[in-house]
Symmetry: C2
Subunit: 284 residues, 2 copies
């Protein structure tokens, strides 16, 4: 890794969604902002893991000491875009007890009996935690919209509901990092084909994954609507190309590190008399 | 690591609680069953991590394919016994999305308004998951008993309630691994003193930790009662010495690996026509 390798600027700025570019037209093989090769990226990830661990521990420590802040990483992307790999390789670097991970599958009967944000509200991270949503409330304006699972007038109102919800979440002290992983349709075919070549990967394959490819353009349009209507000042979207998995992991790590740096955290001061406790401990 | 280094037998058998030995008399610096040094232990942990990862992925894969089984690791131990470190170093090795971690702190007002097993029931792992309890329902017969937080006739009935509860959990397909970490009172003093020497560790220190040392013998007696009354055929207790942290991590890893091996898991077969899906994918 040469001295000049790394980020050419703030990943948060560089990756912010550009509303003039359709999701279908994103260069999914690009590595915006990162000047380096795959091996540089892996080395970077290793060294950033140390920063991420310390920042996470400080967030957790402050959370236990009355600081109400938290982080919520929202991961969206087409099938095989690598959401699980990001959870494993990025969040897997920090203390499991500081990470609150939720996968949003198709809603259960109980969940469907409630407003769509009900299950999301319940999964919000507590103070000091890094929450991770693998899929999220955005499915309620993505797959639901693409397949007309509810009438148009229902999903149409959801963008505003989401904005109001996220505003409240941010005001309560949670920094939202919304990431859309940009994958090409060809790369998705290759990744699905890999699952069909290996019997130990069959379980990851679902025939509906192939059927969904027929709706690719509808999904791209649904993502564009999401960006247009829900990329706000307080909770902007970031678009992360993911045809190169290593890059998407480096980029999400950087977004997390920058968000945590923004908290300007220090170790909480002792709320007890250190000398006195030392004496009591010696005598105990 | 020499060829003869490793486990001299089944960790599950070797570590099973011996009702004739009081918890206060356990050799907390021992490393029962493991023939090797600290560096051997670390090497062992590294190589076992690969097994653990594959077994966990198989459990998860089968859970998605209709297998209802899961694992629940219950970690109990005095303050500083290293429960958090086990979560980090043992469970941190596997896919975060396959691990369901719950820390049981003092119950909230809502939790206190329900029977003591209410919050535990809600935290049980779903099919295919490895659940981890950092403290558990056993606090309701440990700290609660030591400090008379409820009348004796209330906590007295809880042992039987716990057994009935755990029997039902096991019958539903969850393998329970109950681990009591055995720490010496002197080693606890040393670990607390370390927190008082480092400002970045002050947040982990609570003056009540020192005060609790005054009840050490009462806790040991409460643990003995737990072993006597709740170490059952279907959910036995294991006692893991933890004055040497590396050993306790090796031991808990081994208990997990043995439990997962016991499931005799294979990769789920494809429930679709692989050739047909390959063709559809090529055409998509």
């Amino acid at each position: 890794m040469s001295a000049s390798t790394g980020w050419s600027g703030s990943a948060t700025e560089i990756l912010r969604v550009d509303p003039s570019v359709s999701f279908a037209d994103v260069d999914t093989y690009a590595k915006p902002g990162f000047t380096g090769s795959k091996s540089d990226g892996k080395a970077w990830l290793g060294s950033r893991a140390t920063d991420l661990r310390e920042l996470q521990e400080k967030l957790y420590a402050n959370g236990r000491s009355g600081d109400h802040r938290s982080v919520l990483l929202v991961l969206q992307g087409m099938d095989t875009s690598g959401k699980g790999g990001i959870v494993k390789h990025v969040l897997g670097q920090v203390e499991p007890q500081g990470v609150d991970h939720t996968s949003f599958a198709a809603p259960t009967e109980e969940e469907r009996a409630h407003p769509f944000l009900w299950r999301v509200e319940k999964a919000l991270p507590r103070a000091g935690q890094i929450g991770v949503f693998d899929r999220s409330h955005y499915e309620d304006v993505l797959i639901v919209r693409v397949h007309d699972m509810v009438p148009r007038e229902v999903w149409e109102t959801r963008y505003d509901e989401i904005n109001a919800f996220e505003k409240r979440v941010v005001e309560s002290g949670t920094t939202l990092i919304k990431v859309a992983l940009a994958l090409s349709k060809d790369e998705q075919r290759e990744r699905l084909a890999r699952r069909l070549r290996r019997p130990d990967k069959y379980w990851k394959f679902d025939p509906s994954d192939v059927a969904e490819r027929g709706y690719w353009n509808d999904y791209m349009a649904a993502y564009d609507a999401v960006f247009e209507r829900t990329s706000t000042e307080y909770a902007p979207w970031h678009v992360v190309p993911c045809d190169r998995k290593w890059y998407s992991r480096v980029a999400v790590t950087e977004l997390l590190v920058e968000a945590l740096h923004g908290f300007d955290l220090d170790w909480p001061a002792a709320d007890f008399d250190v000398e006195e406790q030392r004496r009591l401990l010696r005598e105990s």
